[in-house]
């Protein structure tokens, strides 16, 4: 029983892994071409940007908030940095462009964080608002031009792979940005489990007032969360452009649903205080595999969004029903315990 509990994981990661495994086995039986290193690597490749976004969303959700402006922050910061490099400083090295994008992302995140923490406003509404503001400001002041070519330093990153080998059906390669995503996952995992900042996020997500009384600096932590989201979003934005070899200001915004669905499926509680990096990684991969499988199975792509939407509702629904069950369990009489108490009193 104890082993089962451990295998299941505190956020049902075990269940998720089982679903993922079942899906992969089923797909391999239906279409033998599915099970190959090529598919695995291409899934990793398509999961790279969603994974970085998902880490950002995980951090906010654990702290008890939600951020729907991350895609806008990503495109704003990456597009601004890239278009600055193209129009005024074509020789800028890649790290400078990425650094510039991260700085912009941090400032936009800071804006979100200050508005939310200082005025204690609902996070969904604030980020819904800033999403519009960020996109609007970008179109107005930065531009809406589509750049088919990245600055040379970034463009050269596009073809960097870490592992590259030939398989029976073609080439399989691991993009450098996928390695970045894996590295970020490890960093966020370490932060959530091994630092006081991470524990503060869980504490605030569990009960913000209790966290305040315990001496956590709630406002500062909340602001930092949104700055962190901005930074991660900026990295995701740059990764998206590098992997797509172009800068399109119309990208990313509108795909937030997939990311939030992945994080919630990964066991993060929409009510705050729960969630893990492992679950999030599994959630992201699950959504990618489902998308790929449905495409392979010949399902029209229009249905993909519907499928993801249903998964999100199922994920939240399971959480809510489990919470309700738990609440009910506490109320019913535990006869054995009651007997024991009575005996204690008698003796």
């Amino acid at each position: 029983m104890q082993m089962l509990r451990t295998l299941r994981g505190s956020n049902n990661e075990g269940v998720l892994a089982l679903v993922l495994l079942t899906l992969i086995i089923a797909m391999s039986i239906i279409s033998p071409a599915f099970l190959s290193a090529g598919t695995a690597f291409s899934t990793l490749r398509s999961a790279t940007v969603p994974l970085i976004f998902a880490l950002a969303v995980l951090v906010v959700i654990v702290s008890g908030g939600i951020d729907v402006s991350f895609a806008a922050v990503a495109i704003f910061s990456a597009y601004t940095a890239v278009s600055f490099a193209i129009t005024t400083a074509p020789d800028l090295p890649a790290f400078a462009i990425i650094g510039f994008a991260i700085a912009i992302g941090a400032v936009l995140g800071l804006f979100n964080g200050v508005v939310i923490a200082r005025f204690r406003l609902p996070t969904l509404i604030v980020t819904l608002g800033t999403q519009g503001v960020f996109v609007g400001v970008m179109y107005t002041y930065v531009g809406a031009t589509y750049y088919a070519q990245l600055p040379p330093s970034l463009a050269s990153l596009s073809s960097v792979t870490v592992i590259d080998f030939a398989t029976g059906t073609g080439r399989a390669s691991l993009h450098v940005m996928a390695v970045v995503a894996i590295g970020l996952s490890l960093i966020i995992w370490w932060m959530l489990t091994r630092t006081m900042f991470g524990r503060a996020l869980y504490a605030i997500g569990g009960d913000a007032e209790a966290a305040r009384r315990a001496g956590f600096r709630v406002m500062r932590t909340q602001v930092l969360v949104y700055v962190l989201v901005g930074v991660l979003a900026a990295i995701a934005g740059v990764a998206h452009m590098v992997m797509g070899r172009s800068a399109n200001p119309q990208d990313l915004v509108g795909d937030e649903l997939d990311i939030i669905a992945a994080v919630v499926l990964g066991g993060a509680s929409i009510f705050g205080g729960r969630g893990s990096v492992l679950g999030t990684v599994l959630g992201v991969i699950l959504i990618q595999v489902i998308n790929n499988s449905l495409l392979l199975a010949g399902v029209p792509s229009a249905w993909l969004r519907a499928a993801v939407g249903m998964l999100l509702i199922a994920g939240v629904g399971i959480q809510a029903i489990a919470a309700r069950k738990k609440a009910r369990r506490v109320h019913t009489v535990d006869e054995q315990k009651a007997d024991r108490v009575v005996e204690e009193v008698a003796s």
């Binding site: 009384r213 001496g215 205080g273 535990d334």
Partner: protein, 503 residues
């Protein structure tokens, strides 16, 4: 009761001449208090007497306008929450301020790590640290359970353990016994004795006078921001404390109206059964009668009430109202049948906190205020609101004030008003005076007597024995989901009720 500490002992903590004003209101006027190591000090007073403000100042959450807090002979004029914690002052709030999503061990250790200004979190050291405290107090707590799954009593013990991680020398407990049953209180007091042996000074802020007297060595009573009296607990009794608190004599004698023995029962409950909650429950209530239902927390007393109100319908059995069988499968069924229910957790279940008192009063009875065209009859609504607002003596500037701004006793009266407005035949109240001060309590019980006198059948669920003694015609004792005793007449005394509850 252990002997009181001698005056020669240096106080761990003392406050001198504390004054605090909020805007134009003086919350505290020259309050002084000292706490000796190893004593339990009871701080009593009605809602709004300044107890909470005093606690906030001692724990560094508020700064006094004048006066000083002296810890171990050192005066602190600029204390904040963290420096209070590092000086060994801990407050256990009524809601415990625990993290429901973290384990017991994490909850016990986490605040100490925060106060230590650590950057890294050493997960491996958490369990041993928590284990040491739990073992020292000889508690039976599962360190790996999530706090959200614990009972109220276990949450409280977790909070006490957390306070001890900081090597707390002053522990202030806000209403520590309110949500506990009789056995749990006994268990808490055993822990309190162990804490005293360690030289910890405890402050109990409480309304439940009997319990507090049983464990305290000294008592300080506040009224309107001043200390009215302070002295050894052995010099006080229930009555004298209540008199100091209210400033007037307290009438807590048994006061029940005579019943018409021939009247047909208003409510008959027959062989009600809900597996896992209660079994074969039968009783009846006559018009004008106040029936008390008591039992330990988890005995099934709340579940029985919820079944009658349709919130969690019974699996089998029958309910009759005025002789007619009422098939209650849901809350609307119960309301249609003329049953009203004032829940245990009023703040979350009984009120619209952001709405005005007026809106809350009529929220349950809009159907009764319709005009010919099924629109709302504004004039009648206003009359109902005005009538109940003044009858219930709700202490607010006007009925338009939001319910959130009210104190516990007044919010409680609003819930009561809401159900009285529906003119139910049967009114079920779960813990009608929990967390309410003595003065308000007497008034609320009076309101119930008046409502009963108009022919309503009233069921009061409570583990506050003096309250049951004061107003109930009969008292049913529930244990493990069964009605084990029925007390009536002279049998209804606090002693017998306590005895039957535990038996």
């Amino acid at each position: 009761m252990a002997s009181p500490p001698t005056a020669a002992v240096e106080p761990v903590l003392a406050v001198h001449g504390i004054t605090k004003r909020f805007g134009g209101v003086t919350a505290l006027a020259g309050v002084s208090l000292d706490l000796l190591p190893g004593e339990v000090h009871c701080l009593a007073g009605e809602n709004g007497c300044g107890k909470s403000t005093l606690i906030k100042i001692i724990s560094g959450v508020e700064r006094p306008d004048s006066g000083e807090v002296i810890i171990d002979g050192v005066a602190h004029s600029r204390m904040n929450a963290t420096s209070a914690i590092t000086s060994g002052v801990q407050v256990i709030y009524q809601d415990f301020s625990l993290f429901p999503n973290l384990t017991v061990a994490e909850n016990i250790v986490l605040t100490a790590e925060v106060a230590g200004r650590q950057k890294l979190y050493r997960a491996a050291s958490v369990r041993p640290k928590a284990r040491a405290i739990v073992d020292e107090l000889q508690l039976d707590l599962d360190l790996d359970s999530e706090v959200g799954d614990l009972s109220v009593a276990d949450k409280q013990l977790t909070a006490i353990c957390r306070a001890l991680v900081h090597a707390a020398r002053v522990i202030i407990m806000d209403e520590p016994t309110t949500a506990l049953t009789h056995t749990e209180v006994a268990r808490l007091f055993a822990v309190v004795e162990r804490l005293r042996a360690r030289g910890v000074a405890l402050v109990f802020v409480s309304h439940k006078l009997e319990e507090v007297l049983a464990i305290s060595q000294r008592v300080t009573i506040m009224r309107s921001g001043r200390v009215v009296t302070s002295g050894l607990a052995s010099d006080f009794d229930r009555r004298s404390i209540a008199e100091h608190m209210t400033g007037s004599e307290l009438d807590e004698s048994r006061l029940v109206a005579d019943l018409d023995e021939s009247a047909a029962p208003r409510l008959v409950v027959s062989h009600l059964d809900l597996p896992g909650a209660f079994h074969d429950v039968s009783f009846s209530v006559r018009p004008g009668e106040i029936l008390g239902v008591t039992g330990l927390l988890g005995s099934g007393r709340t579940e029985i009430a919820e079944a009658i109100f349709g919130a969690r319908p019974a699996a089998s059995g029958e309910i009759f109202i005025d002789g007619r069988r009422a098939d209650i499968r849901s809350i609307p069924d119960a309301v249609d049948a003329g049953i009203g229910y004032v829940p245990e957790d009023r703040l979350s279940q009984g009120l619209f906190l952001e709405k005005s008192i007026a809106d809350n009063i009529v929220a349950g009875s809009l159907d009764r205020h319709r005009n010919r065209w099924h629109g709302l009859d504004r004039a009648r609504i206003r009359a109902t609101i005005a009538g109940l607002f003044s009858d219930l003596k709700i202490n607010a500037p006007n009925p338009e004030a939001p319910v959130r701004s009210l104190s516990g006793g007044n919010a409680q009266r609003v819930v009561l008003a809401k159900w009285l407005a529906t003119e139910p035949k049967v009114l079920v109240l779960n813990g009608p005076t929990v967390g309410v001060d003595v003065g308000s309590k007497a008034q609320i019980l009076d309101l119930l007597r008046k409502a009963a006198a108009r022919g309503m059948a009233i069921i009061v669920i409570s583990d506050d024995a003096p309250e049951l003694v004061s107003c109930c015609h009969r008292v049913l004792v529930v244990a493990r989901g069964r009605v084990t005793h029925e007390l009536s007449g002279d049998e209804i005394t606090a002693e017998i009720i306590h005895e039957r509850m535990a038996a």
